[in-house]
Structures are given as structure tokens and as C-alpha cells.
Symmetry: C2
């Protein structure tokens, strides 16, 4: 297998062509396809076509939030690090991750709970009047906490990206979120992770922001 001669600027385009030629996206909207293609681009795992569940209004609600100065709240520093900063800046949006904040770490110890849960509570306090997109790629406890806050009507998030990965309560936490009447994008089953969360966030952002020109597309 020889090295393929592709101009650096065209590598992503060529990747997407290969993905399109191998995958079947029947039944998904154009916006959903952009998200699925970016997830596969990021994981080389076609399972996500079967695993990803979009609630009916998920993409629309996520895009509307990003058009209205949304705050993205993540449960890992890796997600924070991977989300496109130029796109966020151009759209007047922000991203925050509180899991390593000293008060969050201290409270998690104090209450024998997870940092992810304490970070959710901090975010909810801090951004009470904002459009929030939660992007959870690691901690099922964060999703379970969000589910409880939705049930008690303490939050009404614009979108929950629920893609934690793993073996303990991961499947269960995603099922809880999918039982809620809120906009969600969830990877059913065990798979997911920080790179999947990032690819969903960036696939939304790039529908509103042209990376070549830096233009906002509203």
C-alpha cells in the first residue's frame, strides 16, 4: 500500500470522501450526517452510525444555542482542549470545564462523590441564565446528575451530548438521558469518549463557522 499524495489542505476532504463511499447514512438529515461523518473521521469506527441517537430536535437546538452565545460545559479537559477556539470566539460562545477546580475537587472528597458531579453543580450555578450545551465524554455520573436536575426542573439544557465511554453505569446513564424530554445526542452502548464529544461539538460549530475564511454563517 503506497503513500497517497494528498495536499495537506485536502486531507480532510479526501477522508470524508472515503467515509461517504464506505458508509450508508440513509435516514439521517444533512446536519446529522455532518456529525456522523466527523465522528467516524475521528474514530475510524463505523459502529457509530448504528450507535448514535439524535433526539428529534437535537441538532436544531444545538445550532440555535451556538447562534445565541451558548456556553459549552465539558466533563474533561481533553474535550475543552479539542473544541475549536476560533469557531467559539467568532460565534461569541464559550467552553468551560470545572473538574479540576480546587473547590470541585474538595467538594467531591467531602461528599464522597465524583468531581464530574460537583463540576455539573458548579456549572449550573454559574450559568443559570445561559444557553448551556453539556458535552459529557467520560463520566456517567455527570449524565446521571444531569438527568436528576432535569427531572427536578432545575435545568433545561439546549443540548446534552452524552457520549461517556466505559463499563460502569455508562449504558445506564445514557438510557436515562434518552428517557428525558430534552434535546440530546447520545452514543448508545459503551462506546464514546472525549474525541467523540469533540467531533460532535466541532461538527455543530463548523455548520456556523467557515474555517477557511473565518466567516460566521448565520
Amino acid at each position: 500500500m503506497k503513500i497517497e499524495n494528498v495536499n495537506p489542505a485536502d486531507i480532510e476532504k479526501r477522508s470524508m470522501e472515503i467515509i461517504e463511499s464506505e458508509a450508508d447514512f440513509t435516514g439521517f438529515s444533512d446536519s446529522e450526517r455532518l456529525i456522523l461523518k466527523r465522528i467516524i473521521h475521528t474514530t475510524a469506527d463505523f459502529d457509530y452510525i448504528k450507535n448514535i441517537r439524535f433526539s428529534e430536535n437535537a441538532v436544531e437546538s444545538g445550532l440555535n444555542a451556538l447562534k445565541s452565545n451558548a456556553v459549552i460545559v465539558t466533563d474533561t479537559k481533553m474535550i475543552l482542549s479539542g473544541i475549536s477556539k476560533p469557531a467559539l470566539k467568532a460565534l461569541g460562545c464559550e467552553v468551560h470545564c470545572f473538574v479540576s477546580d480546587p473547590d470541585v475537587v474538595a467538594d467531591a472528597k467531602k461528599y464522597n462523590t465524583t468531581r464530574a458531579i460537583q463540576a455539573i453543580h458548579k456549572a449550573v450555578d454559574e450559568f443559570r441564565d445561559r444557553n448551556i450545551i453539556f458535552a459529557v465524554g467520560n463520566a456517567p455520573t455527570a449524565l446521571i446528575c444531569l438527568h436528576e436536575l432535569i427531572l427536578s426542573e432545575e435545568i433545561n439544557p439546549a443540548l446534552i451530548i452524552g457520549v461517556p465511554v466505559g463499563f460502569v453505569n455508562v449504558v445506564q446513564s445514557k438510557n436515562l438521558i434518552m428517557s428525558d424530554k430534552i434535546p440530546y445526542i447520545v452514543s448508545e452502548g459503551r462506546k464514546g469518549g472525549s474525541t467523540v464529544a469533540v467531533s460532535i461539538c466541532n461538527a455543530l460549530l463548523y455548520q456556523l463557522y467557515d474555517r477557511k475564511t473565518g466567516e460566521v454563517l448565520l
Copy 2:
């Protein structure tokens, strides 16, 4: 499926037990198993047992480098973000990622090449006399560049973690690295990514650093 009641401090242990009960690690050394288990913990993808290739002395060379103030050079900010900072600090090691440095970005444009390649050149210049572990989770061009520098005997890395993900020259770049006479840990095929690179780095670090006590285990 009900929520399993697991103490936050025991979630990772419980995950590893589930992974062990479902996977067959026959033929791998204890150190290699720790790496494979952490990759599966991070991806929920058992394919990696089949895909990961360890060169004969890979783990030993990586561990020795981390005992001798190694520099880890990554090709993404997400990898930089995910590698355990307390472990690095305790061991006197560092991690760097140059892909977003203004000089790297400018040179990539100037030479119509990738930022990943320019970042490798910068790292090689900067850390000429150091033990270097390269952790590549995204850019096959970085691996191809490393292969050329190995052939021309300009570098002699302690370890190459070659786990880029994707569709354009990813398979080829990994095959090139596996043809080199250097220590490598490679995910054969298309799969890999930043989380896989992080899990390999941290699985090495945690063999030398006790996360509970903060002790260095030499």
C-alpha cells in the same frame, strides 16, 4: 439495567475487572496487558487487543526513558491535555506539543506541508540530547516524517507511540514505523486517536507512579 452502586474511588478498578472478565490477553506481558486494558478502558473497543503491535523492547524502552527525565512530544493539544501532569512532575518528565506554535503554523504554510511535520522538526531541534517519546494520535504525516528522520539517523527515539486515526495514509504511515528498528507501540489499521495515545502514555506512567500516594515506584 439498573445503576450499579460503586464508590467513586472504585469505578476504575471495577471497570478493569469487567474488561479482564471479557478479554483474552494471552501472549502479552504484564506491562503490555496494563497498556491494553487502559486502551480498552478508554475506548470500550476490544479490537485493540488485535490491533496493537508492541515491538520487542517497546515497553521497557518507554519505561526507561520515563525514569530518565524523558520528554513526551505529542501531535495534538488533546494528548498534551490528557497525559497525567502529577505523574510527569513526580518523574521529572515533560510533555510538549508544538503544532499550534506561530512559527510552526507559519512554516507549514510557507512549505505547503503539515503543522504536524513542522512540529516534529521543532521538537527534534529543541530536544536533541534528550530521551524522546513521540506520541502521535492524529497526523500520519508526523509518523512519515519520523520514519524519514530515523532512516537518515537524525533521531533515535526511546519510543514511538504511533496511533493516528483515519483514512488517508494512516495505515501506510504505521506500516513504515513498524518497519523501523526502533521501539514502537502501534495500532495497526485505521483506528487510534488522541485518547488511545493518552491511555498508552498514562499506562506507562502509572507503572512508575502511584496515583493514590503520589509515590514514584522505581
